[in-house]
Structure formats: C-alpha cells, structure tokens
C-alpha cells in the first residue's frame, strides 16, 4: 500500500510537468508577451516603450527558455519559463496585475470558498442518496417514473436559472436573506444559506438519477434475493444490505471532487458576491489577468491528482477485497 502510494505520487510529477508545459505553451508561445502587453494596455495607440515598460515591470522581458546573456546557472534560471512556470512547483505564484501577492490572496480566500462548498457537497450527497432511496423503494411505480422525469427535467435547467430564480424569489420577493455579500465569523450563515440551498437543488437531478441507477444495479444481485428469501422485509433489505453496498460506488465516485472543493464554485461565488477562489478566478478571467489564471490552473490540477490518489485509497478502505499492488 505504502509503496503503491509513493509510486502513485511519483507518477503525478510527469503529469504536473505536462500541465505546466501546456499552460506555458498557451500563455507564452501561442501569444508572445508583446501581444499580452498590447491586450492589457489597449490594442491601438500603444508605443513600443510602453510595451517594454509593461514587460519589464512584470519580468516578461526575459528570453523564453535560454538566456545567453546571463552567466552560470542564470542561463536557465533567468528566463520566463523558469521564473513564471517552474516556480509554480514550489508554490510561488508571483504577483497579479494589480501587484498583489497571489499566494496570500489564495490563502485568505480559501475560507469563504470552503464555507460554501463543503456544506453544499455534504448536503448534496445526503439529499440525493435519500431521494434515490425513496425512488428505489417505490421502484416501477408511478412515483418512481415521475421522480425520474423530474430528475431529467431538473438536469435540463441551466445552473444560471437556479441562481437567478432563487435570488429573485428568496431575497427579493420574500426578503428572507440578503441578496449577496459575505461576513466573517458566525454572521456568515445568513449569506451562506441561499447559495448552499441553491447549490444542492441544482445538483440534485443528476446525482439522484445516478445513485438510483447504482441502487437498482445492487438490487438485482444474488445476495439481495437471498436476503428476501430469508423473509426479511423490503425496508430491511434496502436499508441494511443494499444501502451499504451501493454506498461504495457513490463514495468512491465523490472522493475525487473533495480536494477540488478548495477551488470553490465559479458561478455561485460570483453571483452571491462571496470573496472565495471561484469569484477570484472569474474576476481574473474577466480582467484577463494571466498570472492568476495560470496559478489557478496549476492548483486545480494538483488538487485533481490528489483526488485521484484519494479515490484509490478510498477503494481499499470501503472494500477490503481490493488490494493496491
């Protein structure tokens, strides 16, 4: 197990290098720093000096890979690739367009992101499992049929409508909670209720349908027939036998997104004005702040790879038959 994990983590290194090369290619090779400078300073009527100044301020005036003017190790380190891309590996994300330190910004924005994402995630899984159990308990009945139809209909509504509609109904019409904003500490709850509820509702259609399929697959297995043959009631079969076994694919399926909760949710955070990483990312995309987008791409990939490793571990934990070699 330990050896497997070490190997798994070592395998992550080439993947991260690959991610790094992709982002570097996108941000510096497809477009030269000159193009970026023109974009930031306005395309027309920009002097070459202004571009040079912009590049020098941000350290984009170095060569891409090889700096022949430098001496010693500087040939490789005094380049854009080393200062902008390779430094990401040690957690040095550099500065944003407005001059702020990206690492500090990320650290301070993680809290609000998690405050929305964690309750949404936990409640979402719980509610979907409960709904799926209800549908499976009444399977092949009218309730089941219309429940599935409702799930498909809910899947077909864009997430934007849930947020816009929810904000309009709850905050504007009924005036139950503030429309958007955030407060530190315990006061945050009234800003968090609505985003969490909307997050749960908008995800419920797809996950209920998926979990229902898991339950139905489990119900067709031999041990369930044995349990019924023993004379157990349907409720006992469902809750004591099927639920436990169907939780295996459900849990192992959601583990991969747990690390990504740190990234926050793009839409929810930007609509509700929550100062988390999701709204940070959206603002950066809108302001075309390439350093922030690059940093978020890197962090996102690291978290995804962590999620993959956690998934492997969770398989072993919930199903003792599986051994990682």
């Amino acid at each position: 197990m330990f050896a497997y994990l070490v190997r798994r983590l070592l395998y992550a290194i080439p993947i991260l290098i690959g991610v790094n090369i992709i982002t570097f290619t996108l941000f510096f090779v497809v477009n030269t720093p000159d193009d970026m400078a023109r974009m930031q300073l306005g395309v027309r009527r920009v002097t070459q000096e202004a571009i040079e100044k912009w590049k020098a301020e941000r350290g984009y005036d170095k060569p891409l890979f090889m700096n022949r003017a430098a001496s010693g190790a500087g040939v490789l380190t005094d380049t854009i690739f080393f200062t902008k891309s390779a430094r990401l590996f040690v957690g040095d994300f550099g500065r944003a367009e407005d001059g702020r330190d990206i690492s500090k910004e990320i650290a301070s924005r993680m809290g609000p992101s998690l405050a929305v994402a964690v309750p949404t995630f936990l409640l979402g899984v719980f509610v979907a499992v409960v709904f799926a159990l209800v549908l499976v308990f009444f399977r092949a009945s009218r309730l089941d049929f219309w429940g599935v139809v409702l799930c498909v209909a809910m899947m077909s509504i864009s997430g934007l409508f849930y947020i816009i509609g929810g904000q309009y109904l709850v905050s504007r019409l009924w005036r139950l909670v503030p429309i958007s904003g955030y407060a530190a500490g315990l006061d945050a709850w009234k800003f968090l209720v609505l985003p969490v509820v909307i997050g749960v509702v908008s995800g419920i259609g797809a996950s209920t349908r998926l979990y229902r399929a898991f339950f139905l697959e489990e119900i067709g297995k031999d041990y369930v027939r044995t349990a019924r043959a023993k004379g157990l009631s349907e409720a006992v079969v469902l809750f004591r036998h099927v639920l436990k076994n169907a939780l295996i694919p459900i849990l192992t399926g959601v583990v991969v997104v747990i690390p990504l909760l740190f990234m926050g949710s793009l839409l929810t955070e930007s609509f509700f004005g929550i100062p988390g990483l999701g709204s940070y990312t959206i603002d950066a995309i809108r302001a075309q702040d390439f350093s922030i987008v690059r940093a978020m791409v890197f962090i996102g990939s690291v978290l995804y790879i962590v999620g993959l490793v956690l998934t492997d571990i969770s398989y072993v934990l919930v199903d003792p038959r599986i051994r990682l070699e």
Binding site: P14, I15, G18, V19, I22, T23, L26, F27, V30, N31, D35, M36, R38, M39, V43, V152, A153, M155, S156, I157, S158, G159, L160, F161, I164, Y168, R172, L260, M263, L266, L267, T281, I282, I285, R286, Q288, F290, V293, R294, M296, V297, G300, S301, Y304, I305, L308
Partner: protein, 482 residues
C-alpha cells in the same frame, strides 16, 4: 444581369449542414445492417424518445434555415456598375422573419404590449392648441400599430387572431394526419399484429399506438406545436409576442437566432472531439505498450486541468490572437463566426478525454475476442482489423456519447457566456440572452419576459435532447437492450 444576392457560406454553416447530412446518411446507410435496424426500431417504439426526436427536428430545422447566409445587393447600384453588396450577412431565417428583425422599438416593452415599458415626456396639443409635455408611456412604433386609435380593441384583436390561428392549425393538422395515414397505407405498412392497413385502419392504428413506429407520438408533437405556435405566428406580425429587450429587439427573434448558436456548439464541437477520441482511443487499446502509455499520459494530463480553466485559458489566448489581427476579418459576422468555431474547437479539445478513455477500455476488451485473433491468424493487417472489425463495434459507444454530450454542451455555452469566455457578445445565444436579462429582474416593475422566454426555449431544447439521449442509450447499449 447580376444576382439579387450573393451567398456567404460561413464556416459554421458548412459544418452544420455537413454534420446534419452525414448524420442522415449514417442513419440511412445503417438500415442495411439488421442489428442497426433493430436498434432503430427500438428507438421508434420508445414514445418519449420519438416525442423528443420530433421536437429536436423542429429545432434543427430552425437552425438549418438560419445557417444559409447571403448578402443582398444594394439597390443603389447603377446599371453599368459592378454590383455592390450589403456588408451585413443575412440568413434565410432573417428573410422569413424580416418583420421580427427589422421592427425594433426604442426599449423594453411587455409581451403583446402596445405601449412602452418606460415613461417618456410626450408633447400633446390640448383643446386651446397649446403644446404641453405629459409624462406617459408612449405608444410603440410597431407593436399593435395596426390598431390605430382603437387601443382598447387590443384584447378583442388578440382573441380574434388566436381563434383564426387555431382554426388554421386544426385544418393543417387534419391535412398532415390524413396525409400520414394515407402514406402509411400506400407504403403497405402493417400494424403490430401484422394486419395490412387501409387509410382508415391506418388512422385508427396510429391513434391507438398500434403502428411499428410511434406515429402517434410524432403527430401528437406536431399537433401540440401547431396549437402553440400558430397563434404566435399569427400574432407576431402585429405584436411583439414575447416583448422586446433593452434595445427594443424582439425577444422571439432572439430566441430563433439562439437556436442556431446552440446547435452549432452542440454539433460542431463533436467534430473537433471525435477524430482525437476515436483514433487515440483505438490505438491505445489495440496496440498497447508504449503507445498506450503515451496516450494515457496525454489524456490524464489534459483531464487533470479543471475544464473551465482550460477553456478560459484557451479562449483568452484566442481573444488575444483575434484582437491583434483585425485585418483577418472583413465583417463582424465573420469575426463572430470564427470565434464561435474556435470556441467549438476548444470545447472539443478539452472534452475528448472521457470518450477516449471509454473507447480505449472497450478496444482492450475487443482485441482479446476470438474473431480478432482469427483475423490476426489469417494475416489481416492492423489497418484492416481496426477499420473492419473494431471500429464498427464501437459505434454504439460513440453515438451514445455524442447524443449525451449535446445537451451538456448547450448548457455549458450559457455558463461560459456568463463568465465572459463564450460566444462573441454580438452573437445572439441563450447565454448572452440570459446574461443581458439577469439584471432586469432588479427593475421595478420587473422585466421578466426575456429571461422567461430564454428559460422555456432552452428547457425545451435541452430536455428533449436529454430524453432522446436516454432513448438512444436504451436502444443501443447492449447491456440495456433486453
């Protein structure tokens, strides 16, 4: 004599037409294969699936009409001169819906309204002939203009138009339904019990759902569409049926235009995705070894970057390229079109990994089967094995994945446009409609019609795509087809 117009084949137009044509060709050619025919029959018997497919056909028809672009010749051209064509590229849909496109009001107006949403200072002349400024809602320039002074007659006029429309719809429906029954009888179709159908019997079989193909579902959708759409068609000539937006554009027109954008995103993206997914997936699964390692490495790396961020990074870069090379594009429509095409390409490049993984897994299983080993023992080359023996057995996975991706792509477009990395802001799409409409709920009285119309039409499109995808999956997936 020069032509009255010159066709402008936009890139996305060509691709959409090609895709729809090849989908139809694929469907027709697969009829020769008995297994595929059985699968088609299963879809045909699945009533929700047929309902969804019929609705999709209506959407596709609108999208295809909107994908034939041309430029009009300007009337000012003197006889001897070479023809001068308008800068703006119009589509066939624009020509059909010309009243909707051209009759713009000043600003918001409610559905079927005769007066504007916002008050203005109007100059009226009182009995003494003195001009006075009065704050009131001005009459719309076009909405209900035919009523003249008789504004109170609006209700009566609308009811009358709806009644006429319904009579027309009923007549048309009777014609279509009768035509279907006669066509079935003439083709020598049989009902489920194998009895030959006369026109009258055919009608009864359709009504009771006893035909092989669910004709009753098709006719039901056609009937419902006629009942709902005929009044809209009859009313849209004189009113703004779904109101107007901030700059006074008819919302119904925007919806019609959004359909094409959604179709292009949903269809053309698959074109970028398919070759990569199929070729790499099959190669990885069939050749294994270092080829497999490399391909797995590539798709693990790509899929480990969060999708939205990868799309955002690629779109930002594309914007820089487009902004720094304005000389590439003659018209704004072309620039928006290239941007849309690039967006499809980016979406395709970021979403091929999951299909590739599926195909690799399936190919791994297939290559161990006896018939492949037999082919190898006979000395059949790799290329032939891949094309003749492996690829045909993967089609169901590809088709299922394509149909299922369609709805998620349409939904993704809306979100991307909100973030600002979607289609060109000048291009009408569901995303830009929602984006423009979302602040309107804060107005008092609220402007609900743009958002509501976008919601309903998008739900209709995505829901029918989802239901159709379910029907296709049930029919094609060997594990589900019982």
């Amino acid at each position: 004599m020069t032509m009255r117009f010159v066709p402008v084949p936009l890139l996305t137009d060509i691709l959409v037409w090609l895709l729809v044509a090849s989908a139809v060709a694929f469907g027709v050619s697969s009829k020769k294969n008995p297994l595929a025919r059985a699968a088609w029959r299963r879809i045909g018997r699945n009533r929700p699936g047929v309902v969804a497919a019929t609705i999709l056909v209506l959407f596709v028809a609108v999208g295809l009409l909107d994908s034939l672009h041309y430029r009009k010749r300007l009337d000012a051209t003197a006889p001897g001169q070479s023809a001068v064509y308008a800068v703006e590229a119009l589509s066939l849909l624009d020509a059909i819906a010309a009243p909707l496109k051209e009759r713009n009001e000043k600003t918001y107006s409610a559905p079927l309204a005769t007066r504007s949403y916002a008050k203005e200072t109007l100059e009226t002349r009182d009995a003494a002939g003195v001009v006075r400024g009065v704050r009131d809602f001005p009459r719309l320039e076009f909405g209900g203009a035919h009523l003249g002074e008789d504004e109170a007659g609006r209700g009566r006029d609308i009811v009358k138009k709806i009644l006429v429309a319904e009579v027309f719809a009923a007549a048309l429906f009777a014609l279509i339904a009768g035509g279907t029954a006669c066509a079935l009888a003439r083709r020598g179709a049989k009902d489920v019990r194998g009895v030959d159908l006369s026109p009258a019997r055919a009608w009864k079989a359709i009504w009771c759902g006893e035909t092989e193909f669910s004709w009753n579902a098709v006719l039901g959708v056609v009937g419902a569409a006629l009942v709902l759409l005929a009044p809209i068609v009859f009313l849209c000539v004189d009113y703004h049926v779904f109101g107007t937006d901030k700059v006074g554009q008819d919302v119904l027109y925007q919806i019609l235009k959004s359909v094409r954008t959604a179709l292009v995103i949903g269809l053309v993206t698959t074109l970028a995705m398919l070759p990569l997914a199929i070729v790499l997936g099959i190669f990885a699964g069939y050749f294994r070894g270092w080829i497999d390692d490399v391909i797995q490495y590539v798709y693990t790396t790509l899929s480990s970057i969060p999708g939205v961020l990868l799309i955002a990074a690629a779109v930002l870069m594309m914007e820089v390229v487009i902004d720094t090379h304005p000389q590439w594009f003659v018209t704004a429509a072309e620039r928006a079109d290239v941007r849309l095409l690039a967006l499809c390409g980016i979406l395709g490049l970021t979403s091929w990994t999951s299909l590739c993984r599926l195909l690799r897994g399936e190919t791994l299983k297939l290559r161990e089967l006896e018939y492949i080993q037999a082919a190898q023992a006979f000395g059949v080359g790799h290329a032939r094995i891949l094309l003749r023996h492996i690829l045909p057995n993967l089609t169901h996975i590809v088709v299922i994945a394509l149909v299922m991706d369609f709805s998620s792509l349409v939904l993704a477009e809306a979100v991307l446009s909100y973030i600002g990395i979607g289609v060109d802001p000048t291009m009408i799409s569901f995303g830009t409609m929602i984006n423009n409409a979302r602040m309107e709920l804060a107005r008092d009285p609220i402007v609900w019609w743009s958002l509501a119309s976008a919601f309903v039409s998008m739900l209709a499109l995505v829901l029918s795509a989802n239901l159709f995808a379910d029907a296709v999956r049930d029919a094609l997936d060997p594990r589900r087809a019982g």
